[in-house]
Amino acid sequence: MILRVIGKLLIPFILLFALYVQLHGDYGPGGGFQAGAIIAAAMVLYAMIYGLSTARRVFPDWLVESMIAGGVLLYLAVGLAGLYVGGNFLDYFVLDADPVTGQHRGIFWIELGVAITVCGVLLKIFYLFTQRGQDQ
């Protein structure tokens, strides 16, 4: 009971903090990797309180696997966007008329891709470890 109440209180703030780390990565410590790890930590906490089967209904396996692939694809898409607009691969300068804004824009999407993949990989590892001996 206590766990459920505290968990309900904590998880939104953990997610909010993850977003802060994600978006503040441009200016201070943080970035996609750390934010992805924090989001995954919130989900692991959720799974520990409400049970694994509930967690796997909320974040099904196919979603976790697609997150792993989707983040990498987003990263590559940013790289190819640079190519498409007329620069080199991963060229952020050309993503906006103002090169500095272009750099900000590029790294924003890159870090988002990193966060999605890191979160997906950590959850996949968590699922693989917790389901050992149950599926066979």
Partner: protein
């Protein structure tokens, strides 16, 4: 956007992008078609790059438009373009084969993941070759290694798990050594760009940390290329991996490691540091000879054909290393030619062994008795590849040994010529073990009805066998590119 300018990055990005897409599709046929398209596109790109390098000599590509040495540079020269063509070419042949082959060896619901791993491994190997940045090289090395551990572990035999784990441990130690070496170089010079490192290190070839970096990199890369005596992971990994994986890794992974070694020795440290400050010449000569003789001898006593030819790979790597130890254009030409020739030969051989597994259910010598009668074509192919391993004229293996002997004669080392020929006799012995059971024994009663391999397996395998014969006769592509690359490495040709 002009596509031809961006070929160096597309070379890596196309296979890399096909991996997550294959995971998203979650369907084995769609994943296969996608990865196949990416692989064939990669091969086409590598051919275009090879043509471009033939005209201009060097292609440099600045990722993110950050000019080198600040940004990551992709750099294609004669050697890199040849290795790119080799790796993507082998992948283009092995992937169609793998579809029919993993049908029998891997659970169907894992197939799309296999294709994703294959695409990742390919992009990692291509990345190592194309990059001009030391840390980028390490990252790609990890991508290719991690995916190959996963692919080896997919083998049907449960021992594949242990083999993959063994490779994981050894590979990780190797990668750690490499990153320590790169770190030392970065501390000394403040740059990670390989070409820039090459310029800056010339002034500090006697500095202790630089020599330590050279030692770390040598040991780390030697683990990856399975140089004797650091080859312990290789026989099990090749023997228990799925057939298509054995063929792909045997033909590419160690070759790309040799490429990395050449790159660090000749483009980064330079001959002074490698051959004068440290006794690499003698060290590599001794280790190469030990590998040639010990591994060939061990191969003779194997009962599993995949293990037998895995040990033969360790011996053949010895020939490549021997070429490096000469530190001459002919020696390096021999090394580079042997990379290509051995890759084609061993790739074909392991593909044919996969066909034998499909027909006979295994490749232990007891099981393949009389395979020459029930699967005559496949056995004949194995014999051709075996002749190439021995170095019989008319096969690719002869060309490599010819240049090795020329390099030895250039140095006036007659005794080495004798040893090279003697080690070929050991190859005769282990190839003969196959010939004996295949042609001079009757097939086992329960296997007498085995059929010749289906076309889906035979066609890719015979493509490589044909290449083995072709490169034994027409050497303009292999030796021509190799001598050009050797000249460029030693700074003689432009």
């Amino acid at each position: 956007m002009n596509v031809t300018e961006h070929l160096p990055i597309l070379q890596v990005v196309l296979p890399l992008a096909s991996a997550p897409l294959a995971v998203l599709l979650r369907d084995r046929l769609a994943a296969f078609v996608l990865v196949l398209a990416a692989t064939w596109a990669a091969f086409a790109i590598s051919v275009l790059l090879w043509l471009q390098v033939g005209e201009s000599g060097l292609i440099s590509y600045a990722i993110g438009s950050w000019p080198p040495p600040w940004g990551i540079e992709y750099r294609v020269d004669a050697l890199a373009s040849l290795v790119l063509m080799l790796v993507s070419g082998i992948a283009a042949v092995v992937l169609p084969y793998s579809r029919a082959s993993i049908e029998r060896e891997i659970r169907p619901d894992k197939h799309y993941l296999f294709y994703a791993m294959f695409a990742l491994c390919l992009s990692g190997l291509l990345g190592i070759t194309v990059t001009g940045d030391a840390f980028n090289l390490f990252v790609f090395l990890e991508i290719s290694s991690l995916s190959s551990y996963a692919m080896i572990a997919l083998g049907k035999d449960r021992r594949s798990l242990v083999a993959a784990y063994q490779y994981l441990i050894m590979g990780t130690i190797g990668a750690t050594f490499i990153v320590i070496g790169v770190g030392l170089l970065y501390i000394k010079t403040g740059t990670l760009n390989l070409a820039d490192l090459g310029v800056r290190l010339q002034a500090m070839t006697s500095h202790r940390p630089v020599l330590a970096a050279l030692a770390f990199l040598t040991v780390g890369i030697s683990l990856k290329l399975a140089m004797f005596p650091l080859h312990q992971w290789l026989p099990n990994a090749y023997a228990y991996a799925p057939s298509a994986v054995s063929a792909f890794l045997a033909a590419t992974a160690t070759k790309v490691s040799v490429y990395a070694l050449l790159r660090f020795y000749f483009s980064v440290f330079g001959e002074t540091a490698v051959f004068q400050r440290l006794p690499m010449e003698d060290l590599m000569l001794v280790l190469a000879l030990a590998g040639m003789f010990v591994a060939s001898t061990v191969a003779i006593f194997q009962d599993n054909l995949k293990r037998l030819f895995a040990y033969s790979s360790v011996a053949q790597i010895g020939y490549s290393v021997l070429g490096i130890s000469f530190d001459s254009v002919t020696g390096l030409t021999a090394t580079i030619v042997h990379l290509v020739n051995h890759a084609v030969t061993k790739g074909g051989l392991f593909l044919l062994l996969g066909a034998v597994i499909a027909g006979m259910g295994g490749v232990t010598l007891a099981r393949v008795q009389g395979v020459g009668r029930v699967m005559p074509l496949t056995s004949f192919g194995i014999v051709i590849c075996g002749l190439s391993l021995i170095g019989v004229p008319g096969t690719a293996g002869f060309v490599s040994k010819w240049y090795l002997i020329l390099a030895a004669l250039e140095k006036g080392q007659w005794w080495l010529v004798f040893l090279i020929v003697l080690s070929s006799l050991l190859a005769v012995a282990y190839v003969w073990r196959f010939v004996e059971v295949a042609y001079f024994h009757a097939p086992r009663a329960d296997l007498a009805g085995a059929r010749e391999a289906p076309l889906a397996l035979a066609l890719p395998a015979w493509t490589l066998v044909a290449a083995t014969l072709w490169f034994g006769v027409d050497t303009s592509l292999t030796v021509g590119s190799a001598s050009r690359a050797a000249g460029q490495l030693l700074g003689i040709a432009p």
